[in-house]
Amino acid sequence: MINIKNLVHRYTIWESDTKKSKKTVLDDVTLDISPGQMVAVLGPNGSGKSTLAKHLNVLLLPDEGTVWIDGKDTKDVSALWNIRSNVGMVFQNPDNQIVGTSVEEDVAFGPENKNLPSEVIQERVADSLRAVGLLHKRKSSPFRLSGGQKQRVAIAGALAGAPKCIVLDEPTAMLDPAARKEVINVINRLNKEAGITIILITHHTDEVVGADKIILMNQGHIIREGTPEELFDDISILKAVKMDVPQVTELAWRLKSRGVPIRTPVLTEDQFAAEMMRIYNGDTIREDC
Protein backbone atom coordinates (compact mmCIF):
# COMPACT_ATOMS: atom_id res chain seq x y z
CA MET A 1 0.00 0.00 0.00
CA ILE A 2 2.71 2.45 1.03
CA ASN A 3 6.34 2.09 0.02
CA ILE A 4 8.91 4.63 1.00
CA LYS A 5 12.50 4.42 -0.12
CA ASN A 6 15.34 6.61 1.19
CA LEU A 7 13.04 9.55 1.79
CA VAL A 8 14.79 12.79 2.70
CA HIS A 9 12.93 15.98 3.56
CA ARG A 10 14.48 19.35 4.31
CA TYR A 11 12.66 22.45 5.48
CA THR A 12 13.93 25.87 4.55
CA ILE A 13 14.51 28.18 7.48
CA TRP A 14 14.63 31.89 6.76
CA GLU A 15 17.12 33.32 9.22
CA SER A 16 16.55 36.81 7.87
CA ASP A 17 14.85 38.21 4.77
CA THR A 18 17.68 37.10 2.55
CA LYS A 19 19.60 34.43 4.44
CA LYS A 20 18.20 30.92 4.50
CA SER A 21 19.35 27.53 5.67
CA LYS A 22 18.08 23.97 5.38
CA LYS A 23 17.06 21.69 8.19
CA THR A 24 16.78 17.98 7.57
CA VAL A 25 13.63 16.58 9.19
CA LEU A 26 13.46 13.21 7.50
CA ASP A 27 16.74 11.52 6.85
CA ASP A 28 16.87 8.39 4.70
CA VAL A 29 13.55 6.90 5.78
CA THR A 30 12.63 3.56 4.24
CA LEU A 31 9.33 1.94 5.13
CA ASP A 32 6.79 -0.51 3.73
CA ILE A 33 3.20 -0.74 4.86
CA SER A 34 0.97 -3.51 3.52
CA PRO A 35 -2.74 -3.08 2.76
CA GLY A 36 -4.95 -3.51 5.81
CA GLN A 37 -2.18 -2.97 8.33
CA MET A 38 -2.57 -0.80 11.38
CA VAL A 39 0.67 1.06 11.91
CA ALA A 40 1.42 3.32 14.86
CA VAL A 41 4.09 6.00 14.67
CA LEU A 42 5.69 7.03 17.95
CA GLY A 43 8.39 9.58 18.63
CA PRO A 44 9.15 12.83 20.44
CA ASN A 45 8.08 16.27 19.12
CA GLY A 46 10.25 17.23 16.20
CA SER A 47 11.16 13.66 15.29
CA GLY A 48 9.54 13.96 11.85
CA LYS A 49 6.26 12.10 12.41
CA SER A 50 3.96 14.77 11.01
CA THR A 51 6.31 15.51 8.11
CA LEU A 52 6.22 11.84 7.23
CA ALA A 53 2.42 11.89 7.36
CA LYS A 54 2.29 14.86 4.99
CA HIS A 55 4.25 12.89 2.40
CA LEU A 56 1.55 10.23 2.35
CA ASN A 57 -1.02 12.37 0.61
CA VAL A 58 1.33 14.64 -1.25
CA LEU A 59 1.07 17.69 0.97
CA LEU A 60 4.85 17.52 0.73
CA LEU A 61 7.16 16.10 -1.92
CA PRO A 62 10.47 14.32 -1.25
CA ASP A 63 13.75 16.21 -1.56
CA GLU A 64 15.38 12.85 -2.16
CA GLY A 65 14.04 9.32 -2.36
CA THR A 66 10.61 8.17 -3.45
CA VAL A 67 7.19 7.59 -1.93
CA TRP A 68 4.78 5.21 -3.69
CA ILE A 69 1.15 5.08 -2.67
CA ASP A 70 -0.61 2.03 -4.06
CA GLY A 71 2.19 1.74 -6.62
CA LYS A 72 2.03 5.38 -7.72
CA ASP A 73 4.98 7.71 -7.31
CA THR A 74 3.93 10.88 -5.43
CA LYS A 75 6.13 12.96 -7.74
CA ASP A 76 3.94 11.94 -10.68
CA VAL A 77 1.61 14.94 -11.08
CA SER A 78 -0.95 12.97 -13.10
CA ALA A 79 -1.45 10.61 -10.13
CA LEU A 80 -1.90 13.40 -7.57
CA TRP A 81 -5.70 13.32 -7.23
CA ASN A 82 -5.80 9.58 -7.33
CA ILE A 83 -3.33 9.42 -4.44
CA ARG A 84 -5.14 12.07 -2.44
CA SER A 85 -8.44 10.26 -2.73
CA ASN A 86 -6.76 7.08 -1.54
CA VAL A 87 -5.26 8.65 1.56
CA GLY A 88 -7.55 10.43 4.03
CA MET A 89 -6.09 12.68 6.71
CA VAL A 90 -7.34 13.52 10.22
CA PHE A 91 -5.54 16.09 12.37
CA GLN A 92 -5.25 16.86 16.05
CA ASN A 93 -7.66 19.71 16.58
CA PRO A 94 -11.22 18.87 15.46
CA ASP A 95 -12.26 22.54 15.38
CA ASN A 96 -9.69 23.34 12.72
CA GLN A 97 -10.98 20.86 10.17
CA ILE A 98 -14.71 21.44 10.20
CA VAL A 99 -16.06 23.34 7.21
CA GLY A 100 -19.76 22.54 7.01
CA THR A 101 -22.68 24.09 8.85
CA SER A 102 -24.26 20.70 9.43
CA VAL A 103 -22.62 17.35 10.08
CA GLU A 104 -23.74 15.84 6.77
CA GLU A 105 -22.65 18.90 4.80
CA ASP A 106 -19.24 18.71 6.42
CA VAL A 107 -18.84 15.05 5.58
CA ALA A 108 -20.07 15.67 2.02
CA PHE A 109 -17.36 18.28 1.37
CA GLY A 110 -14.83 15.77 0.03
CA PRO A 111 -17.07 13.85 -2.37
CA GLU A 112 -18.75 17.09 -3.52
CA ASN A 113 -15.38 18.40 -4.56
CA LYS A 114 -14.87 15.31 -6.62
CA ASN A 115 -17.98 16.13 -8.62
CA LEU A 116 -19.72 12.86 -7.79
CA PRO A 117 -23.44 12.41 -8.58
CA SER A 118 -25.73 13.56 -5.78
CA GLU A 119 -27.02 10.03 -5.01
CA VAL A 120 -23.51 8.70 -4.60
CA ILE A 121 -22.64 11.56 -2.27
CA GLN A 122 -25.70 10.95 -0.13
CA GLU A 123 -24.93 7.28 0.06
CA ARG A 124 -21.31 7.85 1.02
CA VAL A 125 -22.19 10.43 3.65
CA ALA A 126 -24.71 8.09 5.23
CA ASP A 127 -22.32 5.15 5.13
CA SER A 128 -19.47 7.15 6.61
CA LEU A 129 -21.57 8.57 9.41
CA ARG A 130 -22.93 5.11 10.15
CA ALA A 131 -19.38 3.77 10.37
CA VAL A 132 -18.46 6.29 13.06
CA GLY A 133 -21.81 5.94 14.85
CA LEU A 134 -23.08 9.45 14.18
CA LEU A 135 -25.83 8.98 11.61
CA HIS A 136 -28.39 10.29 14.11
CA LYS A 137 -26.47 13.59 14.30
CA ARG A 138 -26.46 14.22 10.54
CA LYS A 139 -28.57 17.37 10.76
CA SER A 140 -26.81 18.82 13.82
CA SER A 141 -24.37 21.70 13.73
CA PRO A 142 -20.88 20.24 14.05
CA PHE A 143 -20.03 22.99 16.53
CA ARG A 144 -22.59 21.65 18.97
CA LEU A 145 -20.94 18.25 19.19
CA SER A 146 -18.52 17.08 21.85
CA GLY A 147 -14.81 16.87 21.08
CA GLY A 148 -14.94 13.12 20.51
CA GLN A 149 -17.95 13.46 18.22
CA LYS A 150 -16.27 16.24 16.23
CA GLN A 151 -13.23 14.07 15.76
CA ARG A 152 -15.48 11.23 14.57
CA VAL A 153 -17.07 13.66 12.08
CA ALA A 154 -13.57 14.42 10.82
CA ILE A 155 -12.94 10.69 10.41
CA ALA A 156 -16.27 10.34 8.58
CA GLY A 157 -15.19 13.19 6.31
CA ALA A 158 -12.03 11.29 5.45
CA LEU A 159 -14.03 8.09 4.95
CA ALA A 160 -16.46 9.73 2.55
CA GLY A 161 -13.62 10.09 0.07
CA ALA A 162 -13.54 6.27 0.03
CA PRO A 163 -9.83 6.05 0.85
CA LYS A 164 -7.82 2.86 1.13
CA CYS A 165 -5.80 4.41 3.88
CA ILE A 166 -6.38 6.95 6.66
CA VAL A 167 -3.57 8.86 8.34
CA LEU A 168 -4.41 10.24 11.79
CA ASP A 169 -2.05 12.75 13.37
CA GLU A 170 -2.59 12.71 17.15
CA PRO A 171 -6.38 12.48 16.82
CA THR A 172 -6.96 12.07 20.56
CA ALA A 173 -4.63 14.71 22.00
CA MET A 174 -7.46 17.07 22.91
CA LEU A 175 -10.06 14.56 24.02
CA ASP A 176 -11.28 13.36 27.40
CA PRO A 177 -10.88 9.67 28.33
CA ALA A 178 -14.35 8.62 27.17
CA ALA A 179 -13.95 10.44 23.86
CA ARG A 180 -10.49 8.97 23.37
CA LYS A 181 -11.96 5.49 23.67
CA GLU A 182 -14.76 6.37 21.20
CA VAL A 183 -12.25 7.51 18.61
CA ILE A 184 -9.81 4.64 19.11
CA ASN A 185 -12.67 2.13 18.88
CA VAL A 186 -13.84 3.65 15.59
CA ILE A 187 -10.29 3.54 14.20
CA ASN A 188 -9.88 -0.10 15.22
CA ARG A 189 -13.22 -1.02 13.69
CA LEU A 190 -12.43 0.64 10.38
CA ASN A 191 -9.20 -1.29 10.28
CA LYS A 192 -10.56 -4.68 11.30
CA GLU A 193 -13.96 -4.58 9.58
CA ALA A 194 -13.48 -2.36 6.55
CA GLY A 195 -9.85 -3.34 6.03
CA ILE A 196 -8.70 0.28 5.77
CA THR A 197 -4.99 0.77 6.26
CA ILE A 198 -4.42 2.96 9.31
CA ILE A 199 -1.44 5.10 10.17
CA LEU A 200 -1.83 6.45 13.67
CA ILE A 201 0.55 9.06 15.01
CA THR A 202 0.28 9.39 18.76
CA HIS A 203 2.04 10.05 22.04
CA HIS A 204 -0.19 7.68 23.96
CA THR A 205 1.53 4.34 24.18
CA ASP A 206 -1.62 2.67 25.43
CA GLU A 207 -3.20 3.39 22.03
CA VAL A 208 -0.48 1.58 20.11
CA VAL A 209 -0.54 -1.82 21.81
CA GLY A 210 -3.19 -3.04 19.37
CA ALA A 211 -1.22 -2.06 16.25
CA ASP A 212 0.26 -4.57 13.79
CA LYS A 213 3.44 -2.60 13.65
CA ILE A 214 5.00 0.26 15.57
CA ILE A 215 7.48 2.68 14.10
CA LEU A 216 9.65 4.58 16.54
CA MET A 217 11.11 7.80 15.17
CA ASN A 218 13.80 10.07 16.51
CA GLN A 219 15.53 13.02 14.84
CA GLY A 220 14.25 12.16 11.40
CA HIS A 221 15.19 8.48 11.49
CA ILE A 222 13.21 5.33 12.06
CA ILE A 223 15.16 3.95 14.98
CA ARG A 224 13.03 0.89 15.62
CA GLU A 225 10.29 -0.95 13.76
CA GLY A 226 8.41 -4.00 14.97
CA THR A 227 5.34 -5.48 16.62
CA PRO A 228 4.24 -4.02 19.97
CA GLU A 229 5.70 -7.11 21.66
CA GLU A 230 9.06 -6.55 20.01
CA LEU A 231 9.14 -2.86 20.76
CA PHE A 232 8.08 -3.09 24.38
CA ASP A 233 10.40 -6.02 24.95
CA ASP A 234 13.18 -3.57 25.58
CA ILE A 235 11.82 -0.43 27.15
CA SER A 236 15.30 1.10 27.44
CA ILE A 237 15.10 2.21 23.77
CA LEU A 238 11.78 3.96 24.41
CA LYS A 239 13.14 5.52 27.58
CA ALA A 240 16.27 6.66 25.74
CA VAL A 241 14.15 8.81 23.40
CA LYS A 242 12.07 9.87 26.43
CA MET A 243 8.87 8.11 25.35
CA ASP A 244 6.39 6.78 27.87
CA VAL A 245 5.47 3.14 28.17
CA PRO A 246 2.09 1.93 29.46
CA GLN A 247 2.06 1.79 33.27
CA VAL A 248 1.51 -1.98 33.33
CA THR A 249 4.50 -2.50 31.00
CA GLU A 250 6.65 -0.41 33.29
CA LEU A 251 5.39 -2.16 36.42
CA ALA A 252 6.13 -5.58 34.92
CA TRP A 253 9.68 -4.47 34.15
CA ARG A 254 10.25 -3.14 37.62
CA LEU A 255 8.95 -6.35 39.21
CA LYS A 256 11.10 -8.44 36.92
CA SER A 257 14.19 -6.47 37.89
CA ARG A 258 13.39 -7.26 41.53
CA GLY A 259 13.33 -10.97 40.83
CA VAL A 260 9.65 -11.61 40.19
CA PRO A 261 9.41 -14.30 37.47
CA ILE A 262 7.04 -12.28 35.30
CA ARG A 263 7.09 -12.83 31.54
CA THR A 264 7.68 -9.56 29.72
CA PRO A 265 6.67 -7.62 27.78
CA VAL A 266 3.27 -7.03 29.32
CA LEU A 267 1.14 -4.75 27.15
CA THR A 268 -2.35 -4.77 28.60
CA GLU A 269 -4.06 -4.77 31.97
CA ASP A 270 -5.57 -8.20 31.37
CA GLN A 271 -2.22 -9.63 30.45
CA PHE A 272 -0.68 -8.19 33.60
CA ALA A 273 -3.48 -9.47 35.82
CA ALA A 274 -3.23 -12.96 34.29
CA GLU A 275 0.54 -13.02 34.66
CA MET A 276 0.34 -11.82 38.26
CA MET A 277 -2.28 -14.40 39.17
CA ARG A 278 -0.16 -17.12 37.60
CA ILE A 279 2.75 -16.09 39.80
CA TYR A 280 0.59 -15.56 42.86
CA ASN A 281 -1.01 -18.99 42.62
CA GLY A 282 1.56 -20.82 40.65
CA ASP A 283 4.59 -23.06 40.60
CA THR A 284 7.22 -20.55 39.54
CA ILE A 285 7.20 -19.07 43.00
CA ARG A 286 7.87 -22.37 44.69
CA GLU A 287 11.14 -22.76 42.82
CA ASP A 288 12.37 -19.74 44.73
CA CYS A 289 11.49 -21.21 48.14
Partner: protein, 286 residues
Amino acid sequence: MMKVEHLKFTYAKKTVDECRVLNDISFSVQEGEFIGLIGSSGSGKTTLIKHLNGLLKADSGTVYFQGQNIYDKKYILSKLRKEVGLVFQYPEQQLFGKTVLADVCFGPLNLGMTKEEAEKSAKECLELVGIGEAYYYTSPFDLSGGQKRCVAIAGILAMQPKILVMDEPAAGLDPETKYMVFELVEKIRKTRNIAIVLVSHHMEDVARYANKVLVLHKGELVLSGTTEEVFTKTDFLRQIGMDVPQITSVTEKLIQAGVPMTAPATSVKEAEDMIMKVLRERGGMK
Protein backbone atom coordinates in the same frame (compact mmCIF):
# COMPACT_ATOMS: atom_id res chain seq x y z
CA MET B 1 -6.21 31.50 50.42
CA MET B 2 -9.20 31.19 48.11
CA LYS B 3 -12.66 30.04 49.00
CA VAL B 4 -15.44 29.36 46.52
CA GLU B 5 -18.93 29.15 48.00
CA HIS B 6 -22.13 27.91 46.37
CA LEU B 7 -21.16 29.12 42.92
CA LYS B 8 -23.87 29.00 40.25
CA PHE B 9 -23.53 30.03 36.64
CA THR B 10 -25.77 29.83 33.56
CA TYR B 11 -24.75 30.63 29.99
CA ALA B 12 -27.11 32.47 27.63
CA LYS B 13 -29.64 33.27 30.31
CA LYS B 14 -33.23 33.81 29.16
CA THR B 15 -32.59 32.52 25.65
CA VAL B 16 -33.44 29.18 24.04
CA ASP B 17 -29.81 28.20 24.50
CA GLU B 18 -29.92 28.70 28.26
CA CYS B 19 -27.52 26.27 29.81
CA ARG B 20 -26.76 25.81 33.50
CA VAL B 21 -23.03 25.15 33.64
CA LEU B 22 -22.16 25.36 37.31
CA ASN B 23 -24.41 24.36 40.15
CA ASP B 24 -23.60 25.01 43.78
CA ILE B 25 -19.84 24.59 43.67
CA SER B 26 -17.88 25.02 46.90
CA PHE B 27 -14.20 24.34 47.58
CA SER B 28 -11.10 26.02 48.86
CA VAL B 29 -7.52 26.46 47.68
CA GLN B 30 -4.71 26.61 50.26
CA GLU B 31 -1.16 27.83 49.84
CA GLY B 32 1.18 25.28 48.32
CA GLU B 33 -1.59 22.91 47.28
CA PHE B 34 -1.54 21.07 43.96
CA ILE B 35 -5.14 20.56 42.96
CA GLY B 36 -6.21 18.39 40.03
CA LEU B 37 -9.54 19.38 38.44
CA ILE B 38 -11.00 16.59 36.33
CA GLY B 39 -14.26 15.94 34.52
CA SER B 40 -15.38 15.00 31.03
CA SER B 41 -15.70 17.57 28.23
CA GLY B 42 -18.58 19.91 28.94
CA SER B 43 -18.56 19.29 32.69
CA GLY B 44 -17.80 22.95 33.40
CA LYS B 45 -14.08 22.88 34.20
CA THR B 46 -13.10 25.80 31.98
CA THR B 47 -16.13 27.83 33.06
CA LEU B 48 -15.19 27.21 36.69
CA ILE B 49 -11.59 28.35 36.33
CA LYS B 50 -12.74 31.51 34.58
CA HIS B 51 -14.50 32.40 37.83
CA LEU B 52 -11.29 32.10 39.81
CA ASN B 53 -9.88 35.35 38.46
CA GLY B 54 -13.14 37.11 37.75
CA LEU B 55 -13.32 36.62 33.99
CA LEU B 56 -16.86 35.39 34.55
CA LYS B 57 -19.18 36.54 37.29
CA ALA B 58 -21.32 33.97 39.04
CA ASP B 59 -25.13 34.30 39.10
CA SER B 60 -25.04 33.52 42.77
CA GLY B 61 -22.48 32.38 45.29
CA THR B 62 -19.24 34.04 46.25
CA VAL B 63 -15.51 33.79 45.65
CA TYR B 64 -13.27 34.94 48.50
CA PHE B 65 -9.62 35.69 47.88
CA GLN B 66 -7.51 36.25 50.97
CA GLY B 67 -10.66 36.83 52.96
CA GLN B 68 -12.14 39.43 50.60
CA ASN B 69 -15.27 38.96 48.53
CA ILE B 70 -14.24 39.52 44.91
CA TYR B 71 -17.78 40.52 43.96
CA ASP B 72 -17.62 43.41 46.43
CA LYS B 73 -18.21 46.71 44.62
CA LYS B 74 -14.98 48.14 46.02
CA TYR B 75 -12.89 45.10 45.12
CA ILE B 76 -10.31 45.79 42.44
CA LEU B 77 -10.52 42.91 40.00
CA SER B 78 -7.26 43.78 38.25
CA LYS B 79 -5.50 43.01 41.53
CA LEU B 80 -7.10 39.57 41.56
CA ARG B 81 -6.01 38.93 37.98
CA LYS B 82 -2.43 39.55 39.02
CA GLU B 83 -2.75 37.12 41.93
CA VAL B 84 -4.53 34.37 40.04
CA GLY B 85 -2.68 33.48 36.85
CA LEU B 86 -4.63 31.63 34.19
CA VAL B 87 -2.82 29.55 31.58
CA PHE B 88 -5.30 28.59 28.89
CA GLN B 89 -5.11 25.64 26.53
CA TYR B 90 -2.41 26.09 23.91
CA PRO B 91 -1.07 29.25 25.60
CA GLU B 92 1.62 29.54 22.91
CA GLN B 93 -1.10 30.64 20.50
CA GLN B 94 -1.34 33.82 22.55
CA LEU B 95 2.31 34.76 22.06
CA PHE B 96 2.59 37.93 20.05
CA GLY B 97 5.61 39.91 21.23
CA LYS B 98 8.40 40.85 18.89
CA THR B 99 10.93 39.26 21.24
CA VAL B 100 10.68 36.67 23.97
CA LEU B 101 11.48 39.24 26.64
CA ALA B 102 8.91 41.74 25.37
CA ASP B 103 6.24 39.05 25.35
CA VAL B 104 6.91 38.00 28.94
CA CYS B 105 6.99 41.67 30.07
CA PHE B 106 3.57 42.41 28.59
CA GLY B 107 1.55 41.13 31.58
CA PRO B 108 3.55 42.79 34.36
CA LEU B 109 3.69 46.09 32.45
CA ASN B 110 -0.08 46.06 32.11
CA LEU B 111 -0.39 45.51 35.82
CA GLY B 112 1.47 48.74 36.43
CA MET B 113 5.00 47.52 37.08
CA THR B 114 7.78 49.82 35.90
CA LYS B 115 9.88 48.71 32.93
CA GLU B 116 12.75 47.75 35.23
CA GLU B 117 10.51 45.76 37.60
CA ALA B 118 8.80 44.02 34.71
CA GLU B 119 12.07 43.04 33.07
CA LYS B 120 13.51 41.81 36.33
CA SER B 121 10.43 39.66 36.94
CA ALA B 122 10.42 38.45 33.34
CA LYS B 123 14.08 37.44 33.45
CA GLU B 124 13.58 35.56 36.72
CA CYS B 125 10.64 33.67 35.29
CA LEU B 126 12.37 32.89 32.01
CA GLU B 127 15.25 31.45 34.00
CA LEU B 128 12.78 29.39 36.02
CA VAL B 129 11.29 27.88 32.85
CA GLY B 130 14.73 27.19 31.43
CA ILE B 131 14.84 29.87 28.72
CA GLY B 132 18.30 31.41 28.85
CA GLU B 133 19.57 34.89 28.07
CA ALA B 134 20.47 33.81 24.54
CA TYR B 135 16.77 33.72 23.68
CA TYR B 136 15.71 37.08 25.15
CA TYR B 137 15.79 38.89 21.84
CA THR B 138 14.73 36.12 19.46
CA SER B 139 11.19 36.04 18.15
CA PRO B 140 9.00 33.68 20.19
CA PHE B 141 7.82 32.21 16.88
CA ASP B 142 11.25 30.79 16.14
CA LEU B 143 11.18 28.55 19.22
CA SER B 144 10.16 24.89 19.37
CA GLY B 145 6.65 24.00 20.55
CA GLY B 146 7.80 23.09 24.04
CA GLN B 147 9.87 26.26 24.39
CA LYS B 148 6.96 28.40 23.19
CA ARG B 149 4.74 26.91 25.84
CA CYS B 150 7.37 27.59 28.49
CA VAL B 151 7.62 31.23 27.38
CA ALA B 152 3.84 31.54 27.54
CA ILE B 153 3.84 30.12 31.07
CA ALA B 154 6.65 32.50 32.03
CA GLY B 155 4.45 35.36 30.81
CA ILE B 156 1.86 34.42 33.42
CA LEU B 157 4.44 33.72 36.14
CA ALA B 158 6.02 37.14 35.61
CA MET B 159 2.89 38.64 37.14
CA GLN B 160 3.90 36.82 40.35
CA PRO B 161 0.58 35.01 40.90
CA LYS B 162 -0.28 33.29 44.17
CA ILE B 163 -2.45 30.75 42.37
CA LEU B 164 -1.51 29.33 38.99
CA VAL B 165 -4.42 27.79 37.09
CA MET B 166 -3.51 25.68 34.05
CA ASP B 167 -5.94 24.24 31.52
CA GLU B 168 -4.40 21.13 29.90
CA PRO B 169 -0.86 22.52 29.88
CA ALA B 170 0.50 19.31 28.38
CA ALA B 171 -1.92 18.83 25.45
CA GLY B 172 -0.02 18.01 22.28
CA LEU B 173 3.36 17.79 23.98
CA ASP B 174 5.52 14.69 23.81
CA PRO B 175 6.19 12.90 27.09
CA GLU B 176 9.59 14.50 27.61
CA THR B 177 8.32 18.05 27.13
CA LYS B 178 5.25 17.22 29.18
CA TYR B 179 7.34 16.10 32.14
CA MET B 180 9.52 19.15 31.72
CA VAL B 181 6.46 21.39 32.01
CA PHE B 182 5.08 19.48 35.00
CA GLU B 183 8.42 19.35 36.82
CA LEU B 184 8.71 23.07 36.20
CA VAL B 185 5.29 23.69 37.71
CA GLU B 186 6.26 21.56 40.71
CA LYS B 187 9.46 23.56 41.14
CA ILE B 188 7.59 26.85 41.05
CA ARG B 189 5.05 25.57 43.55
CA LYS B 190 7.79 24.60 45.96
CA THR B 191 10.05 27.63 45.56
CA ARG B 192 7.27 30.21 45.68
CA ASN B 193 4.79 28.25 47.78
CA ILE B 194 2.01 29.07 45.33
CA ALA B 195 -1.05 26.93 44.71
CA ILE B 196 -1.54 25.09 41.43
CA VAL B 197 -4.87 24.16 39.89
CA LEU B 198 -4.35 21.69 37.05
CA VAL B 199 -7.18 20.90 34.63
CA SER B 200 -6.44 17.69 32.76
CA HIS B 201 -7.94 14.69 31.00
CA HIS B 202 -4.90 12.59 31.76
CA MET B 203 -5.50 10.72 34.96
CA GLU B 204 -1.94 9.40 35.11
CA ASP B 205 -0.61 12.97 35.19
CA VAL B 206 -3.14 14.12 37.76
CA ALA B 207 -2.40 11.10 39.98
CA ARG B 208 1.31 11.76 39.71
CA TYR B 209 1.34 15.43 40.64
CA ALA B 210 -1.84 16.49 42.44
CA ASN B 211 -2.35 16.03 46.16
CA LYS B 212 -6.03 16.97 46.04
CA VAL B 213 -8.52 16.18 43.29
CA LEU B 214 -11.86 17.79 42.42
CA VAL B 215 -14.24 15.96 40.09
CA LEU B 216 -16.84 17.92 38.12
CA HIS B 217 -19.75 16.22 36.42
CA LYS B 218 -22.52 18.10 34.62
CA GLY B 219 -21.69 21.27 36.49
CA GLU B 220 -21.64 19.75 39.94
CA LEU B 221 -18.75 18.96 42.20
CA VAL B 222 -19.48 15.27 42.64
CA LEU B 223 -16.30 14.18 44.37
CA SER B 224 -13.34 15.75 46.10
CA GLY B 225 -10.58 14.54 48.36
CA THR B 226 -6.97 13.42 48.36
CA THR B 227 -5.67 11.85 45.18
CA GLU B 228 -5.88 8.37 46.75
CA GLU B 229 -9.42 8.93 48.04
CA VAL B 230 -10.67 10.04 44.64
CA PHE B 231 -8.95 7.58 42.33
CA THR B 232 -9.81 4.54 44.41
CA LYS B 233 -13.50 5.28 43.73
CA THR B 234 -13.02 3.57 40.40
CA ASP B 235 -16.61 2.47 39.76
CA PHE B 236 -17.99 5.91 40.38
CA LEU B 237 -15.42 7.60 38.13
CA ARG B 238 -16.12 5.21 35.28
CA GLN B 239 -19.83 5.69 35.71
CA ILE B 240 -19.48 9.41 35.01
CA GLY B 241 -17.31 8.78 31.94
CA MET B 242 -13.99 9.42 33.62
CA ASP B 243 -11.09 7.10 33.65
CA VAL B 244 -8.72 6.00 36.38
CA PRO B 245 -4.97 5.57 35.95
CA GLN B 246 -4.15 2.24 34.32
CA ILE B 247 -2.18 1.25 37.38
CA THR B 248 -5.25 1.81 39.59
CA SER B 249 -7.41 -0.22 37.29
CA VAL B 250 -5.03 -3.17 37.14
CA THR B 251 -4.37 -3.32 40.88
CA GLU B 252 -8.13 -3.22 41.38
CA LYS B 253 -8.42 -6.27 39.12
CA LEU B 254 -5.85 -8.10 41.25
CA ILE B 255 -7.79 -7.28 44.41
CA GLN B 256 -10.99 -8.58 42.82
CA ALA B 257 -9.15 -11.77 41.89
CA GLY B 258 -8.30 -12.26 45.55
CA VAL B 259 -4.83 -10.75 45.95
CA PRO B 260 -4.74 -9.31 49.48
CA MET B 261 -3.92 -5.65 48.86
CA THR B 262 -5.66 -2.98 50.89
CA ALA B 263 -6.58 -0.54 48.12
CA PRO B 264 -5.80 0.04 44.43
CA ALA B 265 -2.52 1.87 43.79
CA THR B 266 -2.32 5.30 42.18
CA SER B 267 1.33 5.17 41.10
CA VAL B 268 3.62 2.55 39.55
CA LYS B 269 6.00 2.77 42.51
CA GLU B 270 3.17 2.17 44.97
CA ALA B 271 1.90 -0.82 42.98
CA GLU B 272 5.41 -2.25 42.80
CA ASP B 273 5.83 -2.04 46.58
CA MET B 274 2.37 -3.49 47.21
CA ILE B 275 2.96 -6.46 44.94
CA MET B 276 6.43 -7.15 46.36
CA LYS B 277 4.94 -7.11 49.87
CA VAL B 278 2.16 -9.50 48.91
CA LEU B 279 4.57 -11.89 47.22
CA ARG B 280 6.94 -11.81 50.19
CA GLU B 281 4.14 -12.55 52.62
CA ARG B 282 3.12 -15.37 50.39
CA GLY B 283 6.53 -16.78 51.16
CA GLY B 284 7.63 -17.13 47.62
CA MET B 285 9.97 -14.21 47.22
CA LYS B 286 13.19 -13.57 49.02
